[in-house]
């Protein structure tokens, strides 16, 4: 039992999970317990915790993809723009602005949006793995151009749509739990199985750690990179669907704006190094939940909206400091050895 706990403590997800629970606890105290209240209205669960899970779903999806990208030592800052493209495509198809011959078909809309995400990711992967561009530059191209592409698709307008099945992607419930939570669980399970049941996780960590040695050991480093960027694109497309289903339309200027930074932060809070190598997707999911619950709890604490970002920043700094070995060593009360030369 004790060794079980010790093993749990050594897991990458231990500290992020502790922080998340602490944030929940603080919220619980401040709100006098109402934070944890979950009410059932028409067989649907409502409450702050449920909100966090639903609103955090986009970030969680992105962080699944981002974890794998960061594990290669790369980065993908185009995910926000890919969300915008995905939403634009889906809404435009449903609104029959593009491909009217599909008759506004809902499955076609979702299918084409996901395909677009895969294409965007594959493009990023091509630039990074084959053209050997630096990842931040390679993905910056799509980050900047992506919103333009989305504008072209929607003709520069905000597309609002009426489609009950499409709304379901964000607002639907199955067995009382919001539908986005199922999407996250599905892709989390898929990513975990793919990484740990096959040898892909090992190849990925090896690639991130030492790409040259990995190539010498027969790993197709380029293919590994190309795959993770493509997967990250797919995750962004699905996050884009949830986003646009939430606002019932496509807003190319604001969909997923700056969310790439939150996604990178979620992975960092989860303890995966941005330099690549060892990674943990569950830890990143917890990181995403931490970011989301900070946003929610800042609102719950009646902090003025202008100050929200500052409060968020302070909490994030604290979390990151506590993950730094250097910081922990500095504050650990220990034997002081005094000056370099002892006065005798």
């Amino acid at each position: 039992m004790k060794s079980g706990f010790r093993r749990f403590r050594e897991m990458q997800a231990f500290w992020p999970l502790t922080v998340l629970l602490a944030i929940f606890a603080v919220n619980g105290v401040i709100t006098g317990g109402s934070f944890f209240e979950i009410s059932i209205i028409e067989n649907h669960l409502f409450g702050r915790v449920i909100d966090i899970a639903r609103n955090g779903s986009k970030l969680m999806l992105l962080s699944i993809g981002m974890t794998m990208v960061l594990a290669t030592g790369g980065t993908d800052i185009s995910v926000g723009s890919v969300m915008a493209i995905s939403g634009a495509i889906a809404c435009s198809i449903i609104d029959k602005r593009i491909l009217p011959q599909l008759g506004g078909s809902f499955p076609a809309a979702v299918g084409f949006a996901m395909l677009a995400g895969v294409a965007c990711g594959a493009w990023n992967g091509l630039l990074v793995a084959k053209a050997k561009l630096q990842p931040i530059v390679a993905t910056m191209i799509l980050m900047v151009a992506g919103r333009g592409v989305a504008q072209l698709i929607t003709n520069g307008k905000i597309v609002t749509i009426t489609s009950v099945p499409y709304y379901f992607i964000n607002g639907g419930y199955i067995l009382g739990i919001p539908f986005p939570v199922y999407i996250v669980l599905f892709f989390l399970a898929a990513a975990l199985l793919f990484n740990r049941r096959t040898a892909f996780g090992l190849f990925l960590e090896s690639t991130g750690c030492n790409p040259t040695a990995s190539r010498f050991a027969g790993i197709r480093v380029d293919t590994v990179k190309w795959l993770v960027y493509t997967f990250s694109g797919l995750m962004a497309a699905i996050a884009g669907l949830i986003e646009s289903a939430g606002i019932k339309g496509a807003d190319c200027n604001n969909a997923g704006l700056f969310i790439e930074m939150d996604a990178i932060l979620a992975v960092a809070i989860g303890g995966t190094l941005l330099s690549g190598g060892r990674f943990s997707i569950p830890a990143s999911i917890i990181g995403a939940l931490i970011i989301q619950s900070i946003t929610t709890s800042v609102l719950a604490m009646d902090v003025a909206p202008q100050a929200t970002q500052v409060v968020k920043a302070v909490i994030v700094i604290a979390i990151c400091l506590f993950q730094s070995g250097e910081f922990k060593r500095a504050i650990r009360p220990g034997r002081r050895e005094g000056k370099a030369v002892e006065k005798t």
Binding site: R197, T198, C209
Partner: protein, 515 residues
């Protein structure tokens, strides 16, 4: 080792102007005792060699002295005062400076800037460039170095850069100068120059701690030798009174019996089956028009200087570099290589020259490093189950006697020789028919070296084909049953077992009349 003898030795040297004394130093890391009650005494005006195999504790002792690591027990006395350096800066302020094998300066700054970085002459924020350049030039002249100090440091050779680093260290007031493997990347002439400077500094009364792998150099320049083994103190000796054989014996803890085996030479070469043959093979910008046969059960050596094409051929064989001309026949069938994975599927294995950048995956565990190639060979979807991976790793840890607390240890925590064994294990686990070894014993200790040489010959005896590349002629003589000599990316000679001799190889490498 008899304790009494050591104590007596220390007593003797301390009478002659002790500069630095480290007593009963211990340092433990989780799971490893790196230093156990180690002694080290440095006299003024002496060169003191610190010797030991990889993992003996030399690096840790230096780290403790320079404030990189803190000791768990023991005392360090500098000029009779106890010191507790906590950072390298503190150690430097006390007069303990270190120059490493890799020069730790800024290559794109000028030489003068590098010498005076952080302590430039001039008032407040303004730097007096003229004075700085003049002083730097004067300082370097003392070291017999007349170079343009305004040019970037990277414009000069590694040797010059190292001199600059030493000059800088000495100028910052070094009483104790630590030279950690300073000669590894220097040519013979450059080494001699470095030794002159060491002798000059010794004459000025400095204490120099010298770490090296080269026994010859120890005898050339040092006055005293301290040997460590497995984190323990073996003894301190006057260099002149310690014969080489004894020194090596003390380092490896047994009387050194050089590995004297020879590959099985009974069968004539023609009778051994040809596994792989190249005809008129060439790669972009490297080798061209190469004809080569690799036979089962032999160790084929590639001899030649750095840049002669020996590593390039190895890369081409393994599929790392594309073969652009000629044909490669494997067991009589023509094969094409698209990448290392094709080489592996054909049953090839390759230990690259540069262990750290091309070999080990530092953050991954010993176990993961060992099964990595087998896993890539099997393919992504045929995952090696955990239990099997453990079994494979444990088997090679045992068979190659890899020193590690467990298979879960990150491989970067192992010493160089053990890392090399991990890479060997990685390829042996794939059960190769052809194993290419590029400098497999570089920078590792004598004991492990002999073990690897022995393994190479045993593997050939078992029917494996091996390609062996080494800069050390001794090693080539000991291991190879046939040697291809390369010069300027061309094969200049092929020596059969009876023709292999130091003289022959040297002559072909140098381009004598035989070529």
């Amino acid at each position: 080792m008899p304790r009494g003898a050591i104590k007596k030795g220390v007593g003797n040297v301390s009478e002659q102007g002790t500069l630095l004394q480290m007593r009963h130093i211990s340092k433990t890391f989780p799971g490893v005792v790196a230093l156990d009650d180690v002694e080290f005494t440095l006299r003024r005006g002496s060169v003191h060699a610190l010797l030991g195999e990889n993992g003996a504790g030399k690096s840790t002792l230096i780290k403790v002295l320079t404030g990189v690591e803190r000791r768990n027990a023991g005392t360090i006395l500098l000029d009779g005062k106890e010191i507790f350096p906590r950072t390298t800066q503190e150690a430097q302020a006390l007069g303990i400076s270190t120059v490493y094998q890799e020069v730790n300066l800024c290559p794109n700054l000028s030489v003068a800037e590098n010498v005076y970085i952080g302590r430039a002459p001039g008032r407040s924020a303004r730097i007096d460039w003229k004075t700085m350049n003049r002083k730097a030039a004067e300082l370097l002249l003392r070291f017999n170095l007349s170079i343009d100090v305004t040019r970037p440091l990277s414009a000069y050779s590694v040797a010059v850069q190292q001199m600059v680093a030493i000059a800088r260290a000495v100028d910052i007031s070094a009483k104790v100068l630590i030279l950690d493997e300073p000669t590894s990347s220097l040519s013979v002439v450059e080494v001699e120059k470095l030794f002159e400077i060491m002798r000059m500094l010794r004459a000025e009364g400095m204490g120099i701690l010298f770490v090296t792998h080269f026994i010859d150099q120890v005898y050339e320049v040092s006055d005293t030798i301290t040997v460590l083994r497995d984190g323990r103190y073996v003894g301190t000796y006057a260099t002149a009174e310690l014969p080489r054989v004894q020194l090596v014996g003390k380092m490896i803890g047994k009387e050194y019996a050089a590995f004297e085996g020879r590959p099985p030479a009974a069968a004539g070469e023609g009778e051994r089956e040809v596994l792989l043959s190249l005809t008129h093979a060439g790669a972009h910008g490297t080798v061209s028009g190469l004809d080569l046969d690799v036979r089962r059960g032999e160790v084929l050596g590639f001899s030649g200087l750095l840049g002669s094409g020996r590593s390039e051929i190895a890369h081409m064989l393994f599929g790392l570099d594309k073969m652009v001309s000629g044909r490669m026949l494997l067991k009589g069938k023509e094969v094409a290589m698209g990448g290392p994975i094709d080489g592996m599927r054909h049953g090839f294995g390759f230990c690259p020259e540069n262990r750290k950048t091309e070999g080990v995956i530092g953050d991954l565990s010993v176990r993961e490093n060992i099964v990595l190639a087998l896993q890539t060979k099997r393919g992504m979807f045929r995952t090696i189950p955990r239990a099997e991976a453990e079994r494979i790793a444990d088997r090679y840890i045992r068979e190659l006697s890899i020193k590690t607390p467990s298979g879960a240890q990150p491989v970067k925590n192992l010493s160089g020789g053990n890392q090399q064994k991990v890479i060997l294990a990685r390829w042996l686990a794939t059960d190769p028919e052809l194993l290419i070894l590029d400098e497999p014993t570089r920078g590792i200790d004598i004991g492990t070296k002999a073990e690897i040489q022995k393994l190479v010959v045993e593997l050939a005896g078992g029917g494996m084909a091996l390609v062996f590349i080494s800069s050390e002629i001794d090693e080539m003589l000991r291991c190879c049953s046939r040697i291809v000599v390369l010069r300027d990316k061309k094969k200049v000679a092929e020596l059969s077992l009876s023709e292999i001799s130091e003289h022959n190889i040297m002559e072909y490498i140098a381009g004598g009349e035989g070529a």
